[in-house]
Each structure stands twice: as C-alpha cells, then as structure tokens.
C-alpha cells in the first residue's frame, strides 16, 4: 500500500518538487537550471520505466503486471472527506502507456527546449508543473482529483504559449485557454450531475471492492439502514462505472426526455473532444501550435491531445454506456469528419507547422472514431472483438501519434531555429543541404503518413478495419483518408526536402543537425519503427484492460440495452396500434388509453415490456455478482 502511494505520488509530484527546488537556484545560472530540469524529467521517466519492466513471477511489486486487466497499484486515501473527495490513484492498461508516453516525451521535448533563451527559469518551472498536471490526469481515479489536475495542466500551458510563443502568442494562448476552459466548465457540470446522482449504497459488496471504495464498511452499514435521503455520493470513477453499467442511477430523465447520463455523456464528450480536438472545435489547435515554441508544440501534440481521448475511453463510455450506445453514430461521425476535414485543411496550408497541426486533427479523428465504433450489438451477435480492435487501434494511434507528431513538430522546429520561417513554398533542397537531418525527418513524416512498418500504420489500419461492422458508409469515408494523407505529406516533403536548392531566406544558416538534435530525433525514430514492426510491445500492456472493458460493455449491451431497446420498440408498436385505434368511433376511451400509454412510455415503461429496464439490469448485476460472492464464500 505505502509503496504505491510513494511511487505514484513521486511520479506525479516529482516534477513539482523539482519546480520548487528550482526556485532556490539563481535565475542567471541558466545551464544549471536546464540540467536540473532535465534531470528531473529523466528521473520521472526512469521511474515509469522501472514500473514498466515486467516483474519476476509471483513477486509482489509495484511493477506493472502485463496481462492483468484490472487497476493496479491502487491506493485510496481520504483527502476532503466532507465532500467524499479522495486522493485516489492507480494505473491500468489504458492509462499506463500514456503515462510512459508523457514522461518519455517530457524528456525529449525538454531537451528540445535548449532553443528557449529567454527567462529560462520561468520556462523550466512551468514546464515541470505542466508535467505534474499531465501525469496526474492519467493517474487520478477520483473525478474531482482528475478535474484538479486537468486544470493544473491548463495554466502552465497558457503561460508557456503566451510568454515564449511567436508573434501572435497572446491571441493563441487566450484562445487555447478559453476553449479548454469552456470544456472544463462542461466537464464540471457533468461531474456534479453524476456526483449528486450517484449512490454507493446501490452497489453490492464485490462491486464496491472492485471499485476500490475506501469506506466499504460505512457503505454497507448505510445499506442496511436503507434510510431515505441518505445517499452516499461519490467521485470515485470506478464506482461511477459500476453504477453506470449495473444500476439505473443515471437513467432518470433530465431534460427534453433525455436521461441524466445522456446529458452527462454529451457534456463530458464536448469537454474532451475540445481537447482532442475535433472539427468544428479545433481552431485553437493550429494557432496554438504555430505560436508555441517547438518543445511546447511537441508536448501539446504528443500528450495534451491524448487527454481528450483518454477521457472518452476512461470516463464517457464506461460511466454512461446507455448514452454512449445511443450517440455512437455521432461520435463516429465526428471522428470521420475530423479525419477528412483535417486532411483537406492540411493540404491547403503554406505554413509548415500549421500543416502538421492539421494533420494532428486528422489523425486524432481516428482516435475518436476507433473509440466510438460500438459494433458489439445485435447484428453481430454482440461480438466485442471488432469494437475492441477499434479501441485498441485508437489507443495505439494515441501512442503512435504521440511519437510521430512530436517528431514532426520537432523536425519543423529544427529548421525554424535555423531560418526563422515556416513557409512551405520557400524551402526546397534540404535533402541536399542537410542530408542527415532530412534522412531523419523523412521516416518521421512517413510515420505520419501511415506507412506500414512505422507507428502510424497500425493505429490507422486497426481503426479503419474495425469500422465496417458498425457502418459501411463511415468505413468507406475513413478509408478514403489514406489518399488525402499521402497527398499532403508527400507534397510537403516535396516542397521542403526535395528539389535542387533552398529557395528561402537565411540559406547560410542551414547548418547540419547538431548532436543534441540527433539525440532527440533518434529515439523517436527508433520507437516509430519498433511500434510499427512489433506493435505487441504496446498492445501487451493495453489490450487486456481494453478487452475487459469492451467485453463488459458488450455484455451490458446484450443483457441490459437490447431488452431495453426491445421494450421500447414494443411500446412504440403498442402506441402506434393505439393511435390507429383512435380512428374508431369510441374516441373518448381511446384517448384515455392513449394518454396512459404515452405516460408510461415516456418514463421507463413499466407495464407492457417493462420488466425490461430496471429489474433486468438488477438481475444481471446480481447474476454477475454471484460468482464473485461464491469466490468470497470459498475464501
């Protein structure tokens, strides 16, 4: 227990401690400040790598156990007990790969920050705070804690863009800040909605245990008492998932006939996809990228965008499955729209960095699409495998895009540092002028293009392949993006790297790539190739968790949602039959009947098909609990 608290807290807060320590260092000792910061990021990276290395058999340690689906290294300590807020963290196959990606990219992008010359101390402190925020988001399991970290990460980013950015930095920083804040507000509303709808007493003992609820005994006592109005609200994400899937706490109608979880899903989804970003909420991204200094672009594209995807898979779907099922087409449609729109927009850019930024919009569209393809439904006999493939592909795409987009931004930064412009039409001939640099850049761009053998391919293809079972139309449109992607990447390469000679200003400054820059580029390339050739090295970490989550949702679809849909359909048909009866002479009676039926079907129907929703759900949860209870009995 204490191990977990120590290591996870260290991972999250070591950067902040480093930032505190930096306060003691005089501001003119620039080199020392940089080295300390680099050392801190390296230390955090080393910690996560330590956790990632598989443990020996049977040894109980904080090392990440591959093949285990559940949360690992969990601890749950009261923080603000009066509001049921806990210091609750843990890692599983969904969050841990992103944690490693974050620490890895933090090291590389900080190393790329040597080009930042002004106010280095402030930059380093903010950078470290940013890292704490990012890691906290991925590790937090308490919704409130999650929200805090989400906001913590926002502020340093604002200053990093706004102070160290390009000419329009204030505009970009404000735009970034307001967009994200808007999302945060939506998220906060949803958090409170879910909090006040939640009730731990609805969960049975195994479910509480699975959710790592700290005060189980208290809950059980309250359950016995079964007092009215004494709901036990919670921010526990895992408990909220259990409630979303096994109880009807979030099914109450809220507004315009839509349930609470429908609205919660929508609010959370908007909050998260602003971060992803998706069209049409994406315009902060190109501006932020163009103005941000290179290392911040790397972090922004490499890590920050992933938080949106992470939120969707971690929070939206498991907590609000019913809404997720109903809105799946919207989610997928938005994903496909982003893919196409981003690719087209990228093609028209003349600013190199803007092009890469739009390519991020397009690539992150795959993530949203992959997460959304709820193909585990009746027509496929609730086959969870294809959806799981989509979610796995989306998660892989997040990792792969983290590597390739960070690499692309870095490669743009390398030449920007030299010639101080990014106009695609004023490059050319870099292959000849800077052969090593170009040789390193081209594989990275091909990774972005989705070339097999590099990291971009796996995610894109897995996502695309998984869509067909959900919607043929979306699948075909998604597949067509490969043409556009090839178009904009190849045209960019042609304009920048090929051709006889450099066409822009400051040609003399095109010095060969330095050793430091190479040292940043090589790891990215190595991982791009490794992930492309042997993607199992990522999948082995994430697949068990994702499979388990998707399987649970597939079972939920089969056991809860399908009877619900059948009941709705039966009710609709009954209503239609009744309204057909209206034409008959005995009007008053019919009207009366009609009224009753209408009322019934508006709320969860209880009469006609209604054993449907609630009791069935309960039965399911009881049934599911049975083996666990048995296991306990045996113990």
């Amino acid at each position: 227990m204490s191990y977990e608290v120590a290591i996870l807290s260290l991972i999250v807060f070591l950067p902040s401690l480093g930032a505190l320590g930096l306060l003691l260092v005089p501001r003119d000792k620039v080199e020392a400040i940089r080295l300390i910061t680099l050392a801190v990021t390296l230390a955090v990276f080393a910690l996560t790598v330590y956790v990632a290395i598989p443990a020996d058999d049977g040894e109980a340690s904080i090392r990440f156990e591959m093949g285990q689906a559940a949360m690992q290294n969990v601890f749950n300590i009261p923080w603000i007990p009066s509001f049921n807020i806990y210091y609750f963290m843990g890692m599983d196959g969904i969050s841990f790969p992103l944690v490693i990606l974050t620490t890895f990219l933090s090291v590389l992008s900080f190393w790329a920050s040597w080009s930042v010359k002004t106010q280095v101390k402030g930059f380093c402190i903010l950078f470290l705070l940013l890292e704490t925020g990012m890691l906290g988001v991925f590790l937090a399991l308490d919704f409130f804690l999650f929200y805090i970290f989400w906001e913590v990460m926002l502020l340093p980013m604002y200053f990093l863009i706004g102070v160290w950015g390009g000419p329009r930095r204030e505009y970009a920083a404000i735009k970034f800040f307001l967009y994200t804040l808007l999302g945060s507000v939506f998220m906060l509303i949803a958090i409170l909605m879910l909090y006040f709808a939640s009730d731990l007493r609805q969960l049975d003992e195994p479910q509480l245990a699975a959710a790592h609820v700290a005060n189980v005994d208290e809950v059980l006592t309250a359950k016995q008492a079964a007092a009215e109005g004494a709901e036990m609200h919670t921010f526990n994400l895992l408990a909220l998932m259990q409630m979303g899937q096994h109880t009807d706490l979030f099914d109450a109608p809220l507004l315009f006939g839509y349930s609470l979880q429908w609205w919660a899903f929508l609010l959370l989804f908007i909050g998260f996809v602003i971060k992803v970003p998706v069209v049409p909420l994406h315009t902060w991204l190109p501006d932020a990228h163009v103005e941000a200094p290179t290392p911040i672009s790397m972090i922004l594209a490499g890590v920050l965008l992933k938080m949106g995807g992470y939120g969707i898979i971690r929070i939206c779907y498991p907590i609000c499955p019913d809404a997720g099922f109903d809105l799946a087409y919207l989610v997928c449609g938005i994903g496909v729209l982003s893919m196409v729109y981003g690719a087209f927009a990228a093609m028209a850019q003349t600013d190199f960095k803007r092009l890469v930024a739009y390519s991020s919009v397009s690539h992150m569209g795959y993530v949203v699409l992959g997460l959304g393809v709820w193909s585990a439904w009746a027509p496929t006999n609730f086959d969870w495998r294809y959806w799981s493939m989509g979610v796995n592909g989306a998660m892989f795409q997040m990792i792969g895009h983290g590597v390739s987009s960070a690499g692309m931004f870095f490669m743009v930064g390398v030449i920007y540092d030299r010639v101080h412009h990014r106009n695609l039409n004023e490059f050319g001939g870099l292959f000849r002028r800077m052969p090593l640099y170009a040789g390193l850049a081209v594989p990275i761009f091909f990774a972005g293009l989705g070339l097999p053998g590099l990291c971009g391919f796996i995610g894109e293809v897995f996502v695309t392949l998984s869509v067909w079972n959900y919607s043929h139309v979306l699948a075909v449109i998604a597949a067509s993006v490969v043409i556009l992607t090839a178009g904009y990447i190849l045209w960019a390469i042609q304009r920048v790297y090929l051709g006889p000679e450099y066409k822009g200003p400051h040609g003399d400054a095109l010095t060969p790539i330095t050793l430091r820059e190479q040292a940043i580029a090589w790891p990215l390339i190595v991982f791009a190739i490794l992930f492309g050739v042997y993607p199992r090295c990522v999948f082995d970490y994430m697949t068990p968790t994702i499979n388990a989550q998707v399987q649970e949702l597939a079972e939920w679809t089969r056991d809860v949602k399908t009877p619900r849909l059948a009941a709705e359909k039966a009710a609709e048909e009954a209503a239609a039959a009744k309204s057909a009866d209206q034409d008959r002479p005995s009007r008053p009676v019919a009207e009366k009947q009609d009224g009753t039926v209408g009322q019934l079907s508006l709320v969860a129907p209880t009469d006609t098909g209604a054993p449907a929703a609630t009791p069935a759900a309960r039965a399911v949860s009881a049934e599911r609990a049975a083996p666990l209870a048995l296991a306990r009995a045996v113990d």
Partner: protein, 861 residues
C-alpha cells in the same frame, strides 16, 4: 529436417537478407568506400545469396512435391484424341441457370464421359475433390495440389480470436516467384553497378537547373541507390512470402514507398519528385479500394490468413477454406460470416421484435436460417465487394486502366529501377495478387478483371505506337502486357496469366536493361536522336532483338518459339475459349489478338528506330559506345532466359508451365459437369482452362496470335525497316488520331481537371472555412463578448458609478457650500448674526401666523 521446415527458413533468410543489407547501408553507407562503392557489393551479395536460397528451395519443393503430368506446351499431341465434340454451342449452357450460385450444367459431360481422356481426368479429378466415385474414372490416382506450408512468426495484434499475423504461406507459386524475383534482381544488381557508376563521383545533373540556370553539381550517392534497391527486394519478397492478405498489404505499401524513393532518386529534378508523388498517390487510390476489400473480408470472416492455421491446437480456417470449403468440393460458397453480416438488418429486427427477455438470445441465427439467406443471395455482394476491392489495389499497383497513368511517369527513375521495379516485379505484384487471391473472386469480379485487362492492353498499346521516348514505349508496353495477364486471369486462364507474368518478367527486364544500355551510351531517351546503333553496340542490339522477339511471341508455330510465344498463345487460346463459352463477350479475344499485332508493331518500331537505319543525330552516334561487361553480361543471361524459360527440361516433366499447373490453387478448375457462373450475372461462364489446350481452340488461337504478330512485325518493317511506307505521311493523314495518341488519350488532363483541381479547391475552401467561418465566428464571439464588456464597462462607469459619484458629489458640494460661510471675517459673521436674528423674528411671526392658520383648519375638522 523435412521440406516443410526447411523451406520457410530458406525463403525467410532470402527475404531478410536484403533487409540486413538495407540496414547496413543506411547506417554505414557513406563510409563504405569512395561514395559508398562497397554498398553495391553488400546489396548484390545479399540478393545473390537470396537467389541461391530460393533456387535451393525450389529444388527441395519439387523433390517433395513431384510435378503432375505435363499438359502444355509439350502435351499438345495429347489433345489429339479429342475432336470437335467440344465445340459446344455456347448458348446451351448460357441458358437455364437457376438462382443458386453453382448449378450443374452439362457443359463438360462429353469430355468427362470419354474414358480415354486421361490427361484431363487427372487434373479435373484433382481439382474437383467431389469425385468420390473413383472406380468410375481414371481420377483415382488424381494428383492434388500440394498442401501449402503455413506458419506464423508473430502477431501484430490479437483481440480475442481476431489476430493479424506476420507469417508465411508457401506453395508452388511462392517458390517460383521467389526464384524469379531473386534471379532478375541479381542480374539487375550487377547491371546497376555499371549503370550507376556516374554516382561514384560528383554528379552533374543538367535536368535539375539551379536558380541561376546552371546545371546542378552534387556528390554522388551510389550507396543510396543500392540501399533503396535492397529495401525494395526485401519488400517484394515479403509480399510474396506473406501468409495473409493484411501482410500482403503491408508489403504492398512498402514496395510502393520503395518505388517512390527510386522514382525520386534524382530528387533534385522537379519532374522526378512529381512523378514519385504521382506514383504513390495513384497507388493509394487503388489501396483505398484494397482497404475496402480488406474490411469486407475482415468484418465478416474474422481472418486474413490465406491458409488454415493451427492456433492453440485448433484449426482456424483461412480465407480460402472459408470461401471454398473442402467439404463443398472446393466450390465457391458464401461463408456464413458474410451471410450473417449481410443479414444484419434482419437479425436486428428479429432481436428487437422478440420479447425483451429473449431479445439477446435471438441474435444468433440458426444454421437453417443462414442456409435460407444464403440461397436468397445474402452476402454474395460482400464477396463481390471483397473481390473488387482487392482487385482495385491490383489495378493501382499493376497500372491498369484507369490508374495506369503513373507508370509512364515512373520512368523518371534510373533504368535499372524501371527494369526491376516497374516491369518485372512490383507492377507484376498486382497480377500476382489476383492469382494468389483467385479462389475468392466470383465470376462477376473475374469479368471486371477481364475487361479492365482488355481495355488497358488496348489503350496502352495504342499509346506506345506514337511514343518516341524509348523508356516510355517500354513503359506502355509493360502496362499493355500487364493488361494481357489480367485478361488471362479474368477469362479463367490462371496458368496462362501467371505464365505470362514470369516470361514477361524476363523479357521485359531484358528490354528495359537494353534500353538503359542505349541511354547510357547516348545520354538521351529520344529515339528520334538514335538510329544505326547496332554497329556501335552489338551486344545490346542483339540481346534486345531477342527481347523483342520474345515479347511478340515469335515462333515457328507448333514447333518451338521464344518464351512469349507460349504464354501469349495460351492467353489468346483462353480468351477464344471464353468467347465460345460466352458469345456476348468477344472483346477480350479481339483485344488479345489485336494487341498482339500492335505489340509487334511498336516493339519493332522501337528496335528499328534505335538500332537500324542511318544515325539521325551524328553527335549522339559518334559518342555512343557499347556498355561495359558488367552491364551486358546480365543482358546475355536474361536473353537466354527470355528465350528458354518456357521450354520443358528434356526427358523430364519439369517445365515452367507444369510448375504453374501444380501451383494452381485447389478447386480452380470447374470439375466435370460443373459450370462456374455468377449469381448477379447468371449467364456468365468461366471456362475450364484445360480445355484451351484442345486442338480446336489451340490451333486457331496459335494461328491467329502468330498471324497478327506477323502482321504487326511486317508493318513495322515496312515503315521503319525498309522504308516502304512513310510514317510522317500516315501521321499527316490521321492527324486527329495521332494527336489523341500522342496526348495519351488525355488521361492526365482529364484527371487533373476531374480530381486534382477539385481536391485542391476543396482543401482551399476548407482552409478558408476554418479561417473565415469558424475562426471568424470565434473571433466575432470574442469581439462581441468584449463589446458587451465594454458596454458593461461604460454602464459601470457612467450609470452605476455615475450615480454613486453624483451622490457623492452632491453631498460633497452641499458640504462645500456652507464652507464659504466660514471665511473667518468678523464683519460677515456680524452680518450673519444680524440677518439671523432678523430672520428668527420674521420666522417666529410668520410661523405663529402659520400655526394659527393650522389651528383654524384643525378646528374646522
């Protein structure tokens, strides 16, 4: 070790060696001798060892799996038993088809009833495993296609039972392709050592002018060339080695990117980088279709593997067994997965209509329901989409109409690349994949393949007539020949198509290398600058003559001929058979036969213009010279192969044709009394390929093919050999046609107008929407908020604060006023005292009056 263990290892090594070479050159290239000259040695030895390993595998394979009895070309005489009874009225079997996919029509009844027909019985029986009644037929000792060697290296991802693997599927076709690719690649590596020697020192590139108009000087990059070549060989061999269609796609893309690098080798030239982009993007258009095909397969079958795999002790059927199960006599059947996928709506309806308690349980349709749906044609279109999708990829890769436009431009690459990548191997990968995936294609798809092939072969051949760039003529010729192969596969000639693939690889790489030798000598691609070169470069001229004779299929009919004779002959024969079986489809035959004439014409036009006659440009002629030995020796090797590769080895049954007969996937010949026809087009019949060896098909086909070729050859001689006809005059007379052909049927212009420009327009529009609409909205929103804030500020300032300030100032000023009084002057005070006293008196009087008055009013009340 038995063959099944050792062959995958040998081929795997042959596959990975070029990768090792690639990595070595990438990391150590510039340090490998002067300008990386040692890189050539590394790459060449890698591929040479690869060839040795492949050839060894071929031998081991043939020992382990003896070949069947020969049919062709050594077996013509066997057909003599047969007479005209095979001349079945074509309409007979084109009628009366029911709605079931595979119905038996007495098509081959006569044939199979003939007990003397041993040659066919062997193969027919082999392919049609349903012939259980062995005693009835000589098929008792039927040969079955050898079981492919299937295995898995590792999986890219596993989701439940879904898995995408890196593995292998090795059958005769794989081994033959490995040997062919490594052999040709070895020859080309040697040749390239000579051809690329310019790159060993600083290179002046006149085609890449710098801003001041001077030709560009740059250091040579000899090693880069061999680096890409090695990567290409690795990718190409991986494509052939692949055990599943997804892995094929992976290497499919990789050969594409190698092609991109190699076309763009002279990346300083704008034309080269544009051509490279065009090649990749056009291929991606094809791959778009490929992905759709993959999705249709994956979503309904849950596997990409070609062959059956054993996973965790259980046999998982591959695509081929799912589509053509052994217990269904290897006949095409719509797999259950596709049926249920197509019936998704019905299942959904059933589930939702069921009582809620049983809803979930009813999602699994019964076997009877699946059979019912299948008989109603459910899922068949998925099979068609899968086939068409995969074929789409092949259209891109093999430069078939309408995606053929990239290949001629790809000639921007160095000539060894054109020989290896863009004629012999990569572009043939599309044909290879059609052959590999043949069991999945429905008759409808095959018809599409036929017509795409026919149209391609015709269009490309006509363009080749007017082209004057020696490499472009060959490029169009390649497109046209690939069209032949597609056509052959489409009309049911699996062996014919693959046969032509192999023979074409030899003679076309030979032709390209010869043209490279000429370009090397003349420093120009234009045939209008050449002429009479055979005196200067006899090795090149006569090896190229061999190549030309091979491609036109020159032969003494029925006796002996160049390799192209055998393969083209079987294509023409099969298309004739197809016409017979489908009277409404004569065009494939016309295209094949007419194409033979055009091929002969443009090939000999090329040869005569280059090597015969008088030099057109004396400067060029003076400087021309024969290429070094390292270049022309590979030409000789390939010339020998181009001549004899189709010949049977004397005294054995070893021949290329026979190997391909063995390679034919199981179930790929309609069995006795069985006709393949489509469901969507039920009067379409895919004829049995073995029937094309019958005399009544074979003899006319041979005569027609040879006759048309001879016609084309004579025309070429008349125009360019002896000068009996004047090409200029003809050009004048048919100006419009000439213009049309010279402009390549306007495809580039058409695509530019229809696709490229609209895409750019859309992308600009979208970028504008972003900038003006969305950002405009956001900015205006922000501006609006600020305006509101400003107004709020003004209200605050003037209304709220104004009120407060006004109040304050009132109070203040009311405080100020009395201050005046306190001015410290005694006189004033005295005045005030007096005035005050007076006022008191007055007031008290007045008030008294007032109070009196008040008192009155009160009193009145």
């Amino acid at each position: 070790m038995d063959a099944n263990t050792i062959i995958p290892i040998l081929l795997g090594a042959a596959w990975l060696l070029p990768l090792a070479s690639f990595v070595t050159i990438v990391l150590a290239g510039p340090r490998m001798g002067k300008a990386g000259s040692a890189a050539a040695g590394v790459a060449t030895s890698a591929i040479l060892i690869g060839f040795v390993l492949s050839a060894t595998s071929l031998m081991i394979w043939l020992v382990a799996n003896p070949l069947p009895e020969p049919h062709h070309p050594g077996g013509h005489h066997e057909a003599e038993h047969h007479d005209a009874e095979h001349d079945i009225p074509a309409g007979e079997h084109a009628t009366g088809n029911g709605s079931t996919p595979f119905h038996a029509v007495a098509f081959l009844a006569d044939d199979s009833a003939d007990p003397s027909d041993d040659a066919h019985a062997d193969a027919d029986g082999a392919e049609a495993g349903h012939q259980n009644d062995a005693g009835d037929h000589a098929a008792a000792e039927a040969y079955t296609a050898p079981t492919p060697i299937v295995g898995t290296w590792y999986s890219l991802g596993e989701f439940g039972s879904l898995r995408i693997d890196i593995g292998y599927y090795i059958d005769t076709l794989t081994v033959v392709m490995f040997t062919m690719v490594t052999l040709i690649a070895s020859c080309i590596h040697f040749y390239a050592i000579g051809y690329m020697h310019d790159e060993l020192h600083d290179y002046t590139d006149p085609l890449a002018p710098t801003a001041d108009g001077q030709p560009l000087h740059r250091p040579g990059r000899f090693h880069r060339f061999f680096q890409y070549l090695s990567l290409f060989c690795f990718s190409m061999l991986g494509l052939v080695y692949a055990g599943n269609i997804a892995m094929v796609f992976v290497f499919w893309e990789l050969v594409g990117i190698c092609s991109y690098f190699l076309i763009g080798f002279y990346f300083e030239r704008h034309s080269a980088s544009t051509a490279a982009n065009k090649a990749f993007i056009v291929n991606r258009v094809g791959d778009f279709g490929f992905i759709i095909g993959l999705m249709a397969l994956w979503a309904s079958l849950g596997t990409f593997a070609f062959g059956d795999q054993v996973v965790d002790g259980q046999t998982q059927p591959g695509i081929f067994s799912l589509v053509r199960p052994a217990d269904h006599s290897h006949k095409l059947i719509v797999p259950a997965g596709m049926v249920t996928a197509a019936a998704a709506d019905e299942i959904n309806e059933a589930v939702l209509s069921a009582p809620p308690t049983e809803a979930a349980a009813s999602a699994q349709p019964s076997a009877a329901a699946i059979d019912q749906w299948r008989s109603e044609g459910y899922g068949y279109w998925l099979l068609v989409i899968a086939g068409l999708g995969v074929f789409c990829g092949c259209v891109g890769k093999s430069a078939q109409f309408p995606l053929h436009v990239w290949l001629p431009d790809a000639m921007e690459g160095p000539t060894p690349v054109s020989a290896l990548v863009h004629s012999a191997t990569m572009v043939a990968a599309g044909v290879y994949l059609v052959g590999r995936f043949y069991p999945v294609f429905t008759p409808e798809v095959l018809l599409v393949i036929t017509y795409v092939g026919a149209v391609t072969l015709f269009i490309a051949a006509t363009i080749a007539i007017t082209a004057t760039d020696i490499k472009r003529v060959l490029a169009y010729s390649t497109v046209s020949q690939l069209g032949y192969m597609m056509l052959a596969l489409g009309v049911g000639g699996w062996v014919a198509g693959m046969f032509h693939l192999v023979t074409h690889a030899f003679f076309k790489s030979l032709l390209f290398m010869c043209s490279g030798s000429v370009i090397h000598a003349c420093h120009t691609n234009e045939m209008t600058e050449m002429g009479g070169l055979r005196k200067k470069m006899p090795w090149t001229a006569y090896t190229m003559l061999v190549g030309c004779l091979a491609i036109i299929g020159a032969a003494i009919p029925f006796v002996v001929g160049f390799s192209g004779y055998y393969s083209k002959d079987s294509i023409v024969a099969q298309s004739l058979l197809f016409w017979q079986a489908n009277p409404s489809h004569p065009w494939p035959f016309y295209a094949a036969a007419g194409g033979a004439a055009i091929t002969a014409f443009y090939m000999f036009r090329l040869w005569f213009m280059t090597f015969a006659g008088e030099p057109r440009n004396h400067h060029v002629y003076e400087h021309a010279h024969e290429s070094p030995k390292v270049m022309y020796m590979p030409l000789v090797v390939l010339a020998v192969f181009a001549t004899i590769v189709a010949w049977p080895v004397p005294l054995t049954n070893l021949s290329l044709n026979n190997m391909l007969e063995q390679a034919r996937p199981t179930g790929m010949l309609p069995g006795d009394g069985e006709v393949w026809s489509g469901v969507l087009m039920d009067n379409l019949v895919i004829p049995n390929e073995l029937l094309s060896h019958e005399l009544d098909i074979h003899v006319p086909a041979t005569l027609i093919a040879s006759g048309t070729a001879m016609l084309g050859l004579l025309l070429a001689v008349a125009f360019y050999g002896v000068g009996a006809l004047d090409p200029n005059e003809v050009r004048q007379r048919f100006k419009l046609i000439y213009w049309w052909l010279w402009n390549k049927w306007m495809f580039d212009e058409l695509y530019d107008a229809v696709f490229v420009r609209p895409v750019h327009f859309v992308s600009r529009t979208i970028a504008n929407i972003d900038r003006t609409l969305i950002d405009g909205l956001i900015n205006n929103l922000a501006l609006g908020v600020r305006r509101i804030a400003d107004i709020d500020g003004l209200i605050d300032k003037y209304v709220v604060d104004g009120l407060v300030n006004r109040t304050a100032s009132c109070i203040y000023s009311s405080g100020l006023a009395p201050r005046r009084v306190q001015n410290g002057r005694l006189q004033t005070y005295v005045v005030w005292i007096v005035a005050g006293t007076a006022a008191i008196f007055v007031l008290s009087e007045y008030l008294g009056w007032l109070s009196w008055g008040l008192g009155i009013t009160t009193a009145f009340k």
